[in-house]
């Protein structure tokens, strides 16, 4: 019995389930854990005509009972712990947690008596989307990665610009 292989197998099955079930129809519940609301503005732009989230089959829902994906912004202030856990537990499985914005990724606020600083301290985050704020295109990419529709690019990026012209690397 190879526990590593079984785990990997279970993870693969889970990813397949998520891809099949959520790939073309996803309900997203946003959770603001104390952000400055600029991430929320970018998230709101997703339903505007230029980006049109609905054409991809993704929708927003306020009820965690109907949600498949939890989109967390903000640095996870400690006063919000109980509410965040209750929201996560109210979502039926399978479910995905996406943390977005530099605050939620632990960048902007250090851990202190009022703030966790990192959404991963309270919730089991599956996908991290950097940005301050993340542009709607970055959010679309991140959501696509979360449901297995798009490939993640970051492991292949080095952020070393040693070739002649500027610009990123891959």
């Amino acid at each position: 019995m190879n526990p590593g292989r079984d785990e990997a197998e279970a993870a693969r099955r889970l990813r397949d389930t998520i891809s099949t079930q959520f790939g073309r129809s996803l309900h997203i519940r946003t959770l603001d854990t104390g952000s400055c609301a600029v991430c929320e503005q970018e998230i709101r732009l997703l339903t505007a005509p230029h980006y049109d989230l609905h054409r991809l089959g993704f929708f927003f829902t306020p009820a965690p009972r109907h949600a498949d994906l939890l989109l967390v912004t903000g640095p996870m202030i400690r006063a919000f712990d109980v509410a965040a856990r209750k929201t996560y537990e109210a979502m039926p499985g399978p479910k995905v947690v996406v943390a977005t914005g530099a605050c939620a990724l632990g960048g902007v606020y250090p851990k202190d008596p009022f703030v966790h600083g990192n959404a991963g301290e309270v919730l089991p985050v599956d996908v991290w989307i950097p940005g301050c704020p993340p542009s709607p295109l970055a959010l679309l990419h991140g959501l696509g990665v979360a449901v297995g529709r798009l490939a993640e690019m970051t492991p292949g990026l080095t952020f070393i610009a040693d070739s002649a012209a500027g610009g990123g690397e891959a």
């Binding site: 005509p49 530099a102 991963g120 990419h141 993640e152 970051t154 952020f159």
Partner: protein, 112 residues
């Protein structure tokens, strides 16, 4: 109402085709920096670490550790060391592991 509809028809479809096709407006986005490791010196690195407001940069011996997740694309590191920093142009930065967002950049420049 019909006037508005006609104007909209004339303008055409404004919705982006992303992710099926690339979006032109992506070129205007502020993005995290990419570093020219040959222009980096320890001194330059320390100056950038001091000026970063989001604690995205740390120096460990001869490595500059860059946390892409913490970066807010404010541009102060570029302002401090314009030779060593260039915009990366990458905005598709989602990752399934937090560690995949922490990049190590060797400091290969000469000098102190």
């Amino acid at each position: 109402m019909p006037l508005w509809f006609a104007r909209g028809l004339r303008r055409g479809v404004v919705t982006t085709r992303y992710p099926a096709r690339p979006d032109e407006s992506a070129a205007w986005l502020p993005t995290p920096p990419a570093f020219r490791s040959r222009q980096l010196t320890r001194d330059v690195a320390d100056r950038m670490v001091a000026v970063c407001p989001a604690t995205a940069l740390r120096r460990r011996d001869d490595t500059l550790i860059f946390d892409v997740g913490a970066c807010t694309a404010c541009g102060r590191c570029a302002e401090t060391a314009p030779d060593a920093v260039a915009p990366s142009g990458e905005f598709e930065l989602a990752a399934t592991a937090r560690s995949a967002l922490i990049k190590e950049i060797p400091i290969r420049g000469g000098g102190r």
